[in-house]
């Protein structure tokens, strides 16, 4: 499998203290994506201009001919050049996850995120199984745009799904994420019917979905298909900006929703 990063002591990706694994590769192209280096399934070179001291040790090749061999990043003394993406086995990943087992307690554990971890389903299922066998609490963070069969493969080893709903309006969903939300909503419905634990998470993106109408529709849909253990509204943050620039992409910026707005939208779900 290919992952981009592992972060320890994460407090916002499920209950308790967690280690979050970011899988690389995603079928969606959300305009507000805060992990743009996890979209492609290939390794990518990031260049942080502000960190470069111009030492020339990287002997950087042309962007056009770059095959992401990683030689420049390896020698770069300041970390201005960095490769996103590394191949690893389920075993290697598990070894990293178990490092914080003393801190997980009963609530905490591992969260598989991304990118879309559910698109690398075989290795995901394998590492989930390993964690489960060792009693580590497991969370899968997904946007749901995968065949439902994938859910069936990981369900036995997953304690909780964090399930994103970005938009209810299908046209807007297509426009802002690059894919239709039909499969996403269908999968969520099915997932509810199987009776697994779900937290629904909604990123709040000003001018895209930060309106009462959109939230009400999501609420109506949820009322119809099941009760999530929790609904979290996550305010947009521009943390993807520097990474996006480092990838040579033009970041798409939005406003940061104010706390009043967040509060009024949250009330809809209470």
């Amino acid at each position: 499998m290919i992952i981009s990063d592992i972060q320890r002591f994460c407090m916002h990706d499920g209950p308790g203290v967690r280690t979050t694994v970011f899988f690389k590769g995603c079928p969606l192209r959300c305009k507000w994506c805060h992990n743009p280096e996890t979209q492609s399934y290939q390794k990518e070179l990031l260049f942080y201009k502000e960190k470069c001291i111009g030492c020339g040790i990287c002997k950087a090749c042309d962007k056009e001919t770059c095959i992401v061999c990683g030689a420049c990043a390896k020698n770069c003394p300041t970390g201005a050049r960095e490769v996103a993406g590394r191949e690893c086995t389920a075993r290697e990943l598990y070894d990293q996850i178990q490092k914080d087992v003393a801190f997980y307690g009963k609530k905490g554990g591992v969260t598989f995120s991304g990118g879309e971890c559910m698109t690398q389903i075989e290795p995901l299922a394998e590492v989930l199984k390993m964690c489960k066998e060792k009693g580590i609490h497991t969370v899968v963070d997904t946007a749901g745009y995968v065949p439902f069969g994938n859910f069936e493969k990981v369900m036995p080893y997953t304690d909780l799904f964090l399930y994103d709903i970005k938009l209810f309006n299908p046209e807007k969903h297509q426009k802002y994420t690059g894919v239709s939300n039909k499969l996403i909503l269908e999968n969520l419905k099915k997932l509810f019917s199987v009776g697994v634990k779900i937290w629904v998470r909604i990123p709040i993106i000003p001018s895209v979905n930060d309106n009462i109408d959109e939230m009400r529709k999501i609420k109506e849909f949820l009322d119809e298909c099941g009760t999530p253990e929790k609904i979290e509204l996550l305010p947009y943050h521009p943390m993807g900006e520097s990474k996006s620039q480092a990838l040579g992409k033009t970041p798409h910026l939005f406003e940061i929703p104010d706390s009043e707005k967040m509060k009024s939208l949250k009330e809809i779900f209470e």
Partner: protein, 710 residues
């Protein structure tokens, strides 16, 4: 009337008057008043100059007791005040000819409050009278006479308070409560609190800075009985105890003072087992946490003893209090510490009683002389092992470099103890084998409350206490570890640079190879990132250093400890560039915490790196400071996060950990607008300080430590 919180709003349980009392105290009302009367004058004392030090001391204590201002604060529930300003500066508050009579006073000890509340000060008087019979006519007689004299002085001071209170009808309860204690055993909770406070205040009035110790263990039974008998309600008990904490702020006076104005070593411990192994946690434990949570008083650095069986409810409560910021509550891993003490040779029952001194150094309270001997191991590496980065130094491999460093460390520590040499690495006095330590510094008042002194006829500074400890404290340890690791990687493993060239670059403060400096700084994972390859170096040094300490020939106990207590600031002037990419004179690691900027994997990785060493060997202590951002502990998951860190810390074998919640943005704002942040407290290094009372250098150091995005 807000009490500052980094996160959220502090709950209100205390009555308005008590909150006002706290607010005034924290905003310098009594501190400034105390400061304005610095000392008693001995100028008119006939023949003062010709007295012996001990006679001078006795005269000074008598004058203090007879003439120090009496202060009764509006609405106070317990009485007694240390009202002389020089005591705030760690000195006996007496002048002669415009100069202090003595050069210093006593701190770094927790005195014997157990005897005070259970047997009464009169019991100590009786002991002294017995000792006088025994030592009459011997060289020990003057000290015993001094003990009896100081007890009489304490009584005179007590009488003065009773007289004042008697004439004020609104203080009738105070009067009735103070009549009996501290001279007779306390009969109930209210008396017990007053007994501890009055004794504490007297010892402080005479210039000393004692710790409090295990307050819930001392007071728990009294409270449980009063609650059961219906003598007192829980709310009343909380108010009484709150006054104890508020009165403890009577030296808070604002201004900039280097290491802050909340540093008077009045430490408190909570929870843990008693001498028979039974858990102590009781109603007082929770009342103390209530008070700290509501008022955010940081002047009593409070540490909770955690063990594998600690109640979840208590852990949650600690996490809730920590979350408001201020670094008021820290934790000990009690299981490890008790093992550590028994391995070192203390009886199990004694070990279970452990408390601490001024910051977090472990001691058996009420019967231990304690001092520590701090030194900078990074300077040993740079100046001795690397000969100031000289051209003649060369090591063929990592092992021979490591061995050379440990040999230098051994020589240095042995020299310190053998020669009592306050050399370039240390500042403190080191006792001799015969305990001729500070003969010109009498210390009878403290000696009264340290078991062993009266029995042996020796003062606190003359080997009187049951245990006498001078603990070598290694500083700069993470920087030595990182330095050795960087050389291992750059010179021996990856051969990026020769040893000789490395020495040349470092001598030159990295001026002519920025590329390699950046590489050293950014490409390796140093201490604090859960990297076995580097953490094992720390583990080995601690083991070797502990062996060195355990084998010292000194005549007293010399357990190992790890600390800097902020000395990384002073030491920075003497330090050269480091192999891991830091330039000369940078402010580096504090205590046994990662060097600022090198910890990249977050709090759990820091704890893991720290716990890999066998910390049972550092009997005196090994402090870990962790700063968390408010954002990582907000919301309902925040309490869970903090208690998980504490649980992991205990499971993995940590010793002492202080968690603080702070962010650089907030601290920078406070630096700019101190007037708006008078009560923003931060954990400094074993103690707390109101951030705005730190001087600029200290403030910057705290900001740098907070910089890492955990």
């Amino acid at each position: 009337m807000d009490f500052f919180a980094v996160n959220g709003k502090r709950p209100i349980r205390l009555c308005e008057e008590t909150r006002k009392f706290a607010f005034d105290s924290l905003n310098h009302k009594y501190g400034l008043e105390t400061w304005s009367t610095p000392a008693v004058s001995m100028d008119d004392y006939k023949g003062f100059q010709n007295l012996s030090p001990l006679q001078k001391y006795d005269a000074v204590i008598e004058r203090i007791s007879k003439t120090a201002p009496i202060r009764i604060c509006d609405g106070e529930k317990i009485s007694g005040s240390a009202t002389l300003g020089m005591a705030i500066s760690h000195n006996i508050p007496a002048d002669f000819g415009g100069k202090p009579v003595f050069s210093s006073s006593i701190s770094h000890l927790t005195i014997d409050f157990e005897t005070v509340i259970k047997k009464g000060v009169n019991h100590i008087q009786k002991q002294a009278e017995d000792a006088l019979k025994k030592y009459k006519g011997t060289e020990k007689e003057p000290f015993i006479q001094s003990c009896i004299h100081c007890l009489q002085c304490m009584k005179m001071w007590h009488e003065r308070y009773l007289e004042q209170l008697k004439n004020k009808p609104e203080y009738r309860a105070n009067y009735e409560n103070l009549k009996n204690v501290p001279f007779e055993p306390a009969k109930n909770f209210y008396e017990a609190v007053q007994s501890i406070w009055f004794t504490f205040a007297f010892v402080r009035l005479c210039g000393n800075w004692p710790g409090i110790g295990r307050i819930d263990w001392l007071l728990g039974d009294y409270l449980e009985k009063d609650l059961a008998d219906g003598m007192l309600t829980l709310d009343e008990a909380r108010e009484i105890l709150a006054h104890f904490f508020i009165k403890g702020c009577e030296w808070v006076k604002g201004g900039n003072y280097g290491s802050g104005d909340a540093q008077h070593y009045q430490n408190i411990l909570l929870a843990g087992v008693d001498e028979n192994g039974k858990e102590v946690t009781n109603t007082v434990t929770y009342l103390v946490l209530d008070i700290l949570e509501e008022l955010g008083i940081s002047d009593f650095p409070t540490t909770v003893r955690i063990n594998k069986n600690t109640d979840k409810k208590l852990l949650k409560r600690i996490a809730e209090v920590i979350r408001y910021g201020g670094g008021v509550v820290a934790v000990y891993n009690e299981d490890l510490i008790i093992d550590s003490l028994t391995d070192y040779g203390y009886e199990l029952k004694e070990a279970r009683k452990f408390a601490n001194d001024g910051c977090w150094e472990i001691q058996i309270p009420g019967k231990t002389f304690f001092t520590y001997i701090p030194f900078d191991s990074l300077q040993i590496l740079q100046q001795r092992t690397f000969d100031n980065y000289g051209t003649k130094v060369c090591f063929a491999d990592f092992e021979s470099l490591y061995d050379a460093f440990v040999n230098d460390l051994r020589s240095e520590v042995e020299e310190i103890i053998a020669t009592r040499n306050a050399s370039r690495f240390i500042y403190t006095a080191v006792p001799t084998k015969e305990w001729k330590w500070a003969p010109d510094m009498p210390c009878t008042v403290v000696s009264l409350f340290e078991q062993g002194c009266i029995e042996k006829g020796h003062s606190y500074l003359e080997g009187g206490p049951v245990y006498n400890v001078a603990s070598p404290h290694i500083g700069g340890l993470p920087d030595v570890v990182n330095s050795l690791y960087a050389i291992k990687k750059l010179v021996f493993d990856e051969r990026k640079v020769s040893f000789a060239e490395m020495m040349r670059l470092l001598k030159n403060n990295w001026e002519d190879n920025e590329t390699l400096r950046q590489y050293a700084l950014n490409k390796y994972s140093y201490f604090g990132n859960d990297n076995d390859e580097v953490d094992i170096i720390a583990k080995n040094i601690i083991s070797d250093f502990s062996d060195i300490c355990d084998n010292l020939e000194s005549g007293y106990k010399t357990p190992a400890g790890i600390s800097t207590f902020g000395r990384q600031l002073d030491w920075s002037e003497l330090r050269m560039a480091t192999p891991y990419g830091k330039k000369a004179h940078n402010v580096l690691a504090g205590n046994f915490s990662p060097t600022p900027g090198t910890d990249k994997e977050g709090a759990t990785a820091i704890i893991k790196s720290y716990c890999k060493a066998d910390l049972k060997r550092t009997v005196s202590g090994a402090a870990l400071d962790i700063k968390l951002l408010p954002s990582s502990v907000n919301g309902e998951n925040g309490v869970e996060a903090i208690s998980s860190l504490i649980k992991g810390f205990v499971t993995l074998g940590g010793h002492f950990m202080q968690l603080d919640i702070a962010d650089t943005g907030l601290l920078k704002k406070a630096q700019k607008h101190p007037e708006e942040y008078q009560n923003l407290s931060v954990r400094v290094s074993g103690w707390n300080a109101r951030f705005v009372t730190l001087n600029r250098e200290w403030q910057n150091m705290i900001i740098a430590q907070t910089g890492s995005d955990l």
